[in-house]
Amino acid sequence: MIQLKKVTMVFGGTTAVNALDLSVEKGELCVLIGPSGCGKSTTLKMINRMIIPTEGKIFIDGHDNMAGKPELLRRSIGYVIQSIGLFPHMTVRDNIAVVPRLMKWDRDRVKKRVTELMELIDLDPVVYGEKYPHELSGGEAQRIGVARALAADPPILLMDEPFGAVDPLGRLLLQDEFLSIQRKLKKTVVFVTHDLDEAIRLADRIAIMKDGRIVQYDIPETILTSPANSFVRDFVGVDRSLKKLSRYDAAQVMREARSVDIETDKVSEHLIKLSEQGAAFVWATDARLQLKGWIDIKHPLFAADPLSGYSKIEVFNIAVQREDSLKLVLSKMLGQGIKNVPVVDKKGILQGEISLRDIEQVSES
């Protein structure tokens, strides 16, 4: 748990942070967001004592962070910065191993841990382990930045625009990956971003900052539905209900999908049964449930051949993945002009479906 009590930081003439109170519960992900220069990075850096506040106190699990050596404090707090700051003269492995080595872990333990982390961030240790940072893509480097921060398994993570330098699509992937890591590891995280969608997606709580103060600190739903004042309202913007969609995964709202296996002999029988139940269409899969297309049950020639309404689809153009956000699902629907999208896993196996109505319900709730 992190507590900031009446913390103020003055640089020369500028008050970067002004009597700020903030408390982040254990295992919670708190996002700091606000206009440039409002004091987000300064707040973050005061937590691990990179900056020492002019006034006020900061407690970590009840202990004043000014007690003890700053280096020891920092080793117990993972830190990711926007520009990543990987060490250019060290391999990926050595980069990740920095903090464990500072903490004098023995060789085997370091090695094991690095391998484990590379698997966690989905980078093959054999392929990437001996690469140097200049041989990595932006997204890979960011993930290694995160792995490095997690290396010594610190209970707290400070992340300053960790995905800021990645293109929007790559950023979505990194967010997904980070969310699933965070769900597993349950770190106490303070996360700075400029991107409201990212904030809504990741946060347990969002702190909206302005001029070194917190204007509103609440769960994303409340921030979206009842902004504390006009600043927050303007900041959150007009399409608030749409923004809410970033908080949900496809997997969270999908319903069971009606499908038939088109490779069995009984396919016609199934289709007729479904037609009698009043279905308009069903998804078509192969025997392994891999999505192949859809079948229009209301097709004029249905009576003659139930399979006449079958159309193949380009699965990865139409379908969404389990971890795609509802916002992405909606844009896919609008882009393809369809009211139902299938949800598949990475191998293209049908998992469920989402309809436009489902999305409307989420955004109105």
Binding site: E71, R74, Y79, I81, G85, F87, P88
Partner: protein, 240 residues
Amino acid sequence: MKYFKAWLGIVLFTFLFLYTVFNISLWPGLKAVLYPRVSLPQMLGQHLILVAISSFAAVLAGVPLGIFVTRKSGSGFKGIAGDLGALSQTIPPVAVLALAVPLVGFGFKPTVLALFLYSILPILRNTIAGLEEVSPTVKEAARGMGMTQSEILLKVELPLALPVLFAGIRMSVVVNVGTATIGAVVGAGGLGNPIISGIVWNNQAFILEGAVTTAVLAVLLDQIIGRIEQSVLPGNRLLS
């Protein structure tokens, strides 16, 4: 094999040189083609010692000084250090010799002093440049990871500054090998001996003996330092 051509050049050059110098028939009118008072290996040895001691001292002084003035506590001295370094290189080594001889006597000591002063600037300057080139975000990351100041210096700053630092040492040593020939003027021996005698006695073979050996020595040392650099640097050649 990267250096194959360089080595081939050196071997060829040495061969031609030896052939020219030892073959008295090529030098009509000269009674001797090799400097008679001291043997070539002996002069080479003297020369190497002059260079080694002065360069070593220059590294020992220049690198720590460069580190010191790039620390927070020493940043106030950066200007002065730079000026002193520049000054020590603008005073001609011959002038240093002239000033030093009355103080420390003839021979080895004033020569080493003059060479030391003359060598220090490139080392100091490159140490500072190399350390200042390390990106602030990398240093911030190091601090944020929980490295102490000395860990940041040893594990991050120095390894990253190494290519630039080594370039300074190489340059300094190469120049030093040439400059060390002035040692002969005050009786420190070395490869300057045949050159000066050659000028005095109008014997081109002596001059050639000293000059070419000096040049070959410079190239060789440059290569050797390059090798050392390769072996201490990790596989980050792209950085330099």
